[in-house]
């Protein structure tokens, strides 16, 4: 559905993207993840025909973004970083205008305006002037604009920015719903968002793809050891510390001394040592107050991938 082939983009002498090759299948939600300035927005702007690539080619729904830009633009909905709103218009007038330039005939336009404003909780605000809306509502109007013409391909640049937690959950489930018959690329720097909505993740750093995989595989392959957050009330002295130090595959960090207990993060390089270690701690008289698994998060993976990248460059 969406293909990028060796896309490179220079802004004067600055290389924003370097030989990006990417394929998104129909019905997929792809998450673009990366720190600020990694090239996420640039990649999206190339796909939406807003910017030309310096070299390489890209197609959307089988049409080249440069040669058949009009056909590409007919098929996509785009929510840019800054929602493109006319502040002096009412929400209804704005969506109507979008419908007109998106080639929606009168009756269908009316239907779609009602449908998207219902989905996005905008119905009561259709008559309000956009300039008077709060940031969250503006973001929703921006999303409504991208969805209005029911496009095959949706490109969303940080779609949940500025929304309150309830709205974020609603928007995420809306995005998941849409994936049934849309192809979606969304960018974000909020890591949990990717694990919750996206089937596949592309991690970009400094204009290069660092990793492409499903969230689960990334977590598995990153070789980040399993770890736990533990609150422990020791029996006496440093006995608990010795028990842990004796276990070679255990590593503790972030030790905090509480009133009568210790809180720390335990990492085990060997999963099978879990039972041994824990029973030796309890037999020493220590009492566990809390044991919660701290899963390897995308954050860890992300840091690992981007920092190993740096190491490669240094070498």
């Amino acid at each position: 559905m969406i293909e990028m082939h060796n896309i490179t983009k220079y802004y004067d002498n600055f290389r924003a993207l370097n030989e990006i090759t990417l394929k998104v299948e129909r019905g997929e939600i792809l998450g673009l993840l990366g720190p600020n300035g990694a090239g996420k927005t640039t990649a999206m702007r190339i796909l939406t025909c807003f910017l030309p690539a310096s070299s390489g080619s890209a197609t959307v729904a089988g049409y080249d973004v440069f040669e058949d830009s009009l056909e590409v633009r007919r098929r996509l909905g785009y929510l840019p970083e800054t929602p493109p709103l006319y502040h002096e218009m009412t929400v209804r007038a704005y969506l109507n205008f979008i419908g007109e330039i998106r080639e929606l005939p009168g009756k269908l336009r009316e239907q779609r305006i009602n449908y998207v404003s219902e989905r996005l909780g905008l119905i009561e605000n259709l008559g309000r002037v956009i300039g008077t809306l709060s940031k969250g509502y503006r973001q929703r109007v921006g999303l409504a604009q991208a969805l209005l013409h029911n496009p095959e391909v949706l490109i969303l640049d940080e779609p949940t920015v500025g929304l309150d937690p309830n709205q974020i959950i609603e928007i995420r489930s809306l995005i998941k719903d849409l994936a049934k018959d849309h192809t979606i690329i969304l960018s974000t720097h909020i890591l949990p968002e990717v694990s919750m909505t996206c089937g596949r993740v592309v991690i970009i750093n400094e204009g290069e793809i660092v990793a492409v995989d499903s969230v689960a595989n990334l977590e598995k392959n990153a070789k980040v050891s399993p770890s736990w957050k533990i609150v422990l009330k020791p029996a006496a002295g440093q006995q608990w510390r010795d028990a842990i130090d004796r276990c070679e595959s255990a590593h503790i960090s972030d030790i905090k001394e509480l009133a009568d207990a210790f809180e720390f993060r335990l990492e085990l390089t060997r999963n099978d040592m879990f039972d041994d270690l824990f029973s030796s701690l309890t037999s020493g008289g220590a009492v566990f107050r809390e044991i919660s698994p701290a899963r390897a998060t995308l954050e860890d993976i992300f840091l690992k991938l981007t920092s190993s990248e740096e190491r490669k460059e240094e070498a």
């Binding site: 702007r45 939406t48 025909c49 807003f50 910017l51 030309p52 440069f66 830009s69 009009l70 633009r73 007919r74 996509l76 785009y78 840019p80 970083e81 800054t82 493109p84 709103l85 006319y86 502040h87 002096e88 218009m89 007038a93 205008f97 979008i98 007109e100 330039i101 998106r102 080639e103 604009q145």
Partner: protein, 236 residues
Amino acid sequence: MKILAIMKKELQAFFFSPIAYIVFASFLAIVGYLFWVILVTSKIATLEPMLYNAAFILMLASPVLTMRLVSEEKKSKTIELLLTSPISPFQIIMGKFLACFILYIVLMILTLQYPLILSAYSKDFDVGPIYSGYLGLVLLGAAYISFGLFASTLTENQIIAAMVSFGGLILFWIFGWAKHAFENDFGELLGNLSLFDRYAEFLRGVIDSGNVIFFVVFTVTWLFLATRVLESDRWR
């Protein structure tokens, strides 16, 4: 159809913001004042001075109307919406031009009170120059707007857009002076480019097809260039 959508949106924007009202009010106040003073002091029932003054004041007022047309879209990033929609730069420019032109025509209609006042108090005054004068003023308006619109595509700063159109229009206005200064082919050429010299002929009651064509070509040229500038944003 999409041209009309853009046009409608721009007209809405003009009337939602105070710009249109302020330009209308100050234009009508100045022109009304001049009409009255000239009529009372000269006691001649002619519209020529008023049409002449109107053209000059419109030259100063029209950049205020045109400066926001594209600059504001660039500044507020809504241009990203337009350029990623299935709409061509030509349609964008034409819609914006028409919106501004309609506004201008409305302003022209509001000035029709002056010839009506003249015709009410004077029995024998020549309507020919009034028709041709208004035709000239409408053509001149199209020229002003197209140049201002072009200037607006160049920058996201409305002040710069306004200054570029002031500067450009005033230059085109005074090019005619060179004709008398040089008295050679170069002076002749500059004189031919002068908006004022062409317009002055309409005020004398002369509708020269050459002058009409000049204004049409002038307008089309700047609209074309505005379209190209907008297009170039896509492949730059």
